[in-house]
């Protein structure tokens, strides 16, 4: 008893020849089907090369086009020839010219001999499998497909749409339930002959001729009628990407394939010399006798598909440039934007760095330069601090900065005096943590030594800009974690907000804060605001500040740093 190989070939005939010889060398008969589309001269040379081998036969040729009946017809005639010519065959294994046996053929023979009644074929009902191309799963069986998907794509799509709209459905023949699965199977003589010799085979054939991609459903469906023992998996390792094309194996997959323990893999790049050499020089490279275990390969290929369809969040590059709303992560990591804190606290940056362990930048979008942490002129990724370069593409600047410093939390200061071009990007970004003390921009003005007329003008400008920014942050589209306090609110009880922010950054501190940043002396600030009001410029973003000194400040004594025990 042995295994018969039915081999469908259409390209890379030299490799097919090599593999066919490999099978027959271990006593497995091979029936080869050559696609009708293969040129006559190539075909003749191929047949001549293999003709001397008593275990090789060539079956009637059909024209095979992807997704059409030809492939099933090819496997039918080849299987019939196999069953007729080689009576010692118990299992028939369907393979292609680009399949490569990974384990010694004898192991496959032994494996199948130990399971004489088992049919290995992946077969699942359409409702249960997600791997279909073009959204056609159940409709493969109920619509008609007279047009070629490859050559007449437009007609194909339009005809499908038309049938959907008119609600035309084909009748599925009585007695069968559509199943689908990998087209590469290994069936017992009993089952296969039952399918091929069925009295109503013509009914089924006629029906499946109109089904889309019948090679993935013909045997998979009929098996359920005749088989006594279906093992629903394919012995051929074959991975498909998101477009339904098989992944290809190359020389560098050698170790991976060795460890897969699968019997046969497809599809192999025809010029992968090392693979063919390693696996076709028998038993020296024998793998241990274990059950097939393609887990690792699975992972690699599913990761590849995910990279192609989802990509790396927050990455913008030559081959990934998501349009608005399709970013799948506007930035690559979480970061914090602080507005008004550096104005209200003298040592906010150093304090924050100490409290959280994050990298704390100054005003990254300041008008003169990007104030990187530590006063650096360049930063990760050779990103420059030049304001001209930054303002040329401010959004790229921010996404680059976050991408370049992956693994390290970034915090930066922001304010109405800075370049406002990134406001929408930050507001839409769920990775952003935005904390705003509104109106704190007035503090530097308050402490400055400028003419009051100038201050008034500047205050009006900054208030307008901040108001617009707050509108963005409060908009319906904002996805960032936004916290906004008026300055009056914040000064009243600064510890609680600070604690929340630091907890959320959550890097170093799990305990309560023991140290607060040093707040600037605000005595006289209320009066300053009143003066602005008296000049006709109404500052409202900082909330209600009493004209007289804030009650929290003990009159006369300079403010001391907070200490909470």
């Amino acid at each position: 008893m042995t295994v018969g190989i039915v081999m469908l070939v259409h390209t890379a005939l030299d490799r097919a020849e090599q593999v066919a010889r490999h099978w027959t060398a271990s006593g497995c008969p091979v029936v080869i089907h050559i696609d009708r589309n293969v040129r006559r001269r190539t075909h003749r040379a191929f047949v001549q090369a293999l003709e001397g081998d008593p275990l090789i036969r060539f079956s009637k040729r059909h024209r095979c086009e992807w997704g059409t009946w030809g492939i099933v017809a090819a496997s039918q005639s080849a299987s019939e020839l196999m069953l007729k010519t080689f009576p010692e065959v118990r299992h028939v294994y369907l393979a292609s010219g680009s399949c490569l046996p990974l384990r010694p053929v004898q192991e496959l023979i032994d494996y199948l001999a130990a399971r004489p009644q088992t049919d290995f074929i992946e077969s699942a009902t359409t409702a249960d499998v997600p791997w279909t191309v073009g959204g056609l799963d159940e409709e493969r069986f109920t619509l008609r497909f007279p047009f070629s998907w490859k050559r007449q794509r437009g007609l194909f799509d339009r005809y499908v749409a038309l049938q959907r709209r008119l609600g035309i459905r084909r009748r599925i023949p009585a007695g069968i339930v559509p199943h689908m699965g990998s087209q590469w199977w290994c069936l017992t003589r009993q089952t296969l002959s039952a399918i091929l010799e069925a009295p109503n085979r013509k009914v089924f054939d006629d029906y499946f001729k109109g089904v889309w991609i019948p090679d993935e459903s013909y045997y998979q469906t009929l098996i359920r009628l005749y088989s006594r023992n279906v093992e629903s998996r394919s012995l051929t390792l074959s991975k498909f990407d998101f477009q339904g094309k098989p992944h290809i194996f190359y020389d560098d997959h050698l170790q991976l394939l060795r460890r897969s323990d699968c019997f046969v893999a497809r599809k192999i790049w025809p010029r992968a010399d090392r693979l063919y050499q390693a696996f076709l020089t028998d038993s020296a490279h024998a793998m241990k006798k274990t059950e097939p275990n393609p887990g690792k390969i699975d992972r690699i290929f599913s990761k590849a598909v995910e990279r192609r369809t989802r990509g790396r969040p927050g990455l913008y590059m030559q081959s990934r440039m998501p349009k608005h709303g399709f970013e799948n992560g506007i930035t690559s990591a979480q970061y914090s934007m602080f507005q008004g804190f550096a104005e209200l606290f003298d040592d906010f940056e150093t304090w924050l760095a100490r409290a959280t362990g994050a990298r704390v930048h100054g005003h990254l979008f300041a008008p003169d330069r990007a104030e990187f942490a530590g006063g650096q002129t360049l930063i990760n990724g050779a990103l420059s601090d030049s304001a001209t370069v930054r303002d040329y593409a401010p959004e790229s600047f921010l996404t680059n900065l976050i991408w370049n410093s992956r693994g390290e939390r970034q915090c930066f200061q922001f304010g109405p005096a800075d370049n406002q071009a990134v406001n929408w990007l930050v507001a839409r970004d769920p990775n952003a943590q935005v904390s705003v003390i509104s109106g704190a921009w007035a503090v530097p003005l308050f402490r400055s030594n400028r003419n009051f007329g100038e201050i008034r003008k500047e205050a009006a400008r900054l208030q307008k800009i901040e108001k617009e920014h707050l509108d963005v942050l409060r908009s319906y589209y904002a996805k960032a974690r936004v916290r906004i306090w008026t300055m009056a609110e914040f000064v009243e009880a600064p510890m609680e907000p600070l604690q929340t922010i630091v907890d959320e950054i959550g890097m170093v501190h799990q305990r309560r804060l023991t140290e607060a940043p040093r707040m600037v002396d605000l005595s006289g600030f209320g009066q300053f605001l009143q003066n602005l009001k008296n000049q006709g410029m109404h500052p409202y973003l900082m909330g209600d500040f009493p004209v007289e000194q804030a009650p929290a400040t003990a009159p006369g004594t300079p403010r001391k740093p907070y200490l909470v025990r």
Binding site: D241, F242, Q243, K245, H247, I248, Y250, D251, D252, W269, R271, I300, F301, K303, A304, V305, R307, R308, T309, R310, G311, R312, L315, Y316, M317, Q318, S319, R320, M321, P322, K323, F326, E327, N328, L378, I379, N380, G381, A382, L383, S384, S386, T388, V389, Y392, A393, S396, F397, N400, W403, N404
Partner: protein, 328 residues
């Protein structure tokens, strides 16, 4: 757009009279060969490594345009069976910086071939390039119905003065210029042609800090399954028809892409920059070379603390400069 494409092709045909065949081995091109088209001038010193690098990657045939070299370029190429050469003394600028010549050669010889268009100082890197030759890549692209492959220009530079280490013929330039900028690139969309416009890197950082909008474009699409109706518009940055420029995914995924390591900054550069400035044959009034000459006087060090040392394609992949896409 069709008009623009026709115009390009017409120009190519007109400029084809400037090309004189010096050595025509195009009869030896086989149906499945990957071709390489390159325009150059006085690059004899780079040729030996260039040829061996691309032969190693599996390029089947080289098509060179020699723009009036005065060094041993032609002697080196003479007699090589996989090299065809055309010479011209005509103006580089008036042939749209070589684009017309390249379009013509591609139209004439590269129809239905995968075609790589690079400069002599550009080294093509793609996913798995250390284990899989270019034919593996183009087979995969064919299988995936992809017609063009993006490879962004990444400038590599030495640590220290540019002229500190002399470059010798046959030497791998990456031994000297092995550093690059990893994360200061800006991307804009070009609405007219549908391609991306990438700028940045050490040239933008050092030479164009005052005028970043003038920094050279780094987006390139050097590998195309050529059709006689295709045309490059400006260098290999832009192609027509526009569909070829769609080398990026805009719904969040990553398409496969590579990189062109641009080893311009070797000791040969200083001489080249002053020569090119004199000839005035380069893009936008040789503005780029003007900027170089300006800065090169004080011999700047392009290297900085955050420069990355080039290791392999996997490093570029991790840094997000290129992507494997769904090739695994």
């Amino acid at each position: 757009m069709r008009v623009r494409r026709r115009y390009r092709l017409l120009r190519a045909a007109r400029k084809s009279f400037e090309l004189k065949p010096f050595q025509d081995h195009t009869g030896a091109i086989r149906k499945t060969d990957v071709l390489l088209i390159c325009t150059m001038r006085n690059e004899g010193v780079r040729l030996p490594y260039f040829l061996s690098y691309y032969r190693g990657l599996g390029v089947g045939h080289f098509l060179f345009v020699d723009n009036d070299s005065s060094d041993d370029t032609l002697d080196q190429l003479a007699g090589q069976p996989d090299v065809s050469v055309w010479t011209t003394t005509a103006s580089y600028r008036r042939s749209t910086f070589g684009v017309d010549w390249v379009n013509w050669l591609a139209r004439k010889h590269a129809h239905d071939h995968w075609t790589l268009v690079v400069d002599p100082d550009e080294f093509f890197i793609y996913p798995f390039c250390d284990t899989r030759p270019i034919p593996a890549l183009v087979d995969w692209l064919d299988n995936s119905s992809i017609r063009s492959f993006s490879a962004m220009l990444i400038d590599v530079y030495p640590k220290g003065r540019i002229d500190a280490q002399p470059y010798l013929p046959g030497q791998n330039p990456l031994e000297i210029a092995s550093w690059f900028d990893s994360g200061n690139y800006t991307i804009k969309r070009n609405k007219t042609y549908g391609n991306l416009w990438i700028q940045g890197g050490p040239r933008a950082r050092m030479f164009f800090a005052e005028a970043p909008e003038q920094a050279p474009a780094l987006n390139k699409i050097p590998l195309v399954k050529w059709h006689r109706k295709y045309a490059f518009v400006s260098s290999t940055h832009t192609l027509l028809p526009r569909g070829l420029n769609q080398v990026y995914d805009d719904s969040g995924g990553e398409k496969a892409s590579g990189a062109l390591l641009h080893a311009k900054f070797l000791d040969t550069f200083t001489a080249k920059a002053s020569e090119e400035l004199e000839r005035g044959q380069h893009y936008a009034n040789s503005m780029e070379y003007r900027a170089y000459a300006e800065r090169l006087k004080d011999n700047p060090d392009l290297w900085c603390k955050w420069s990355e040392k080039y290791i392999n394609w996997r490093q570029l992949e991790i840094l997000g400069l290129m992507s494997k896409g769904n090739w695994a």
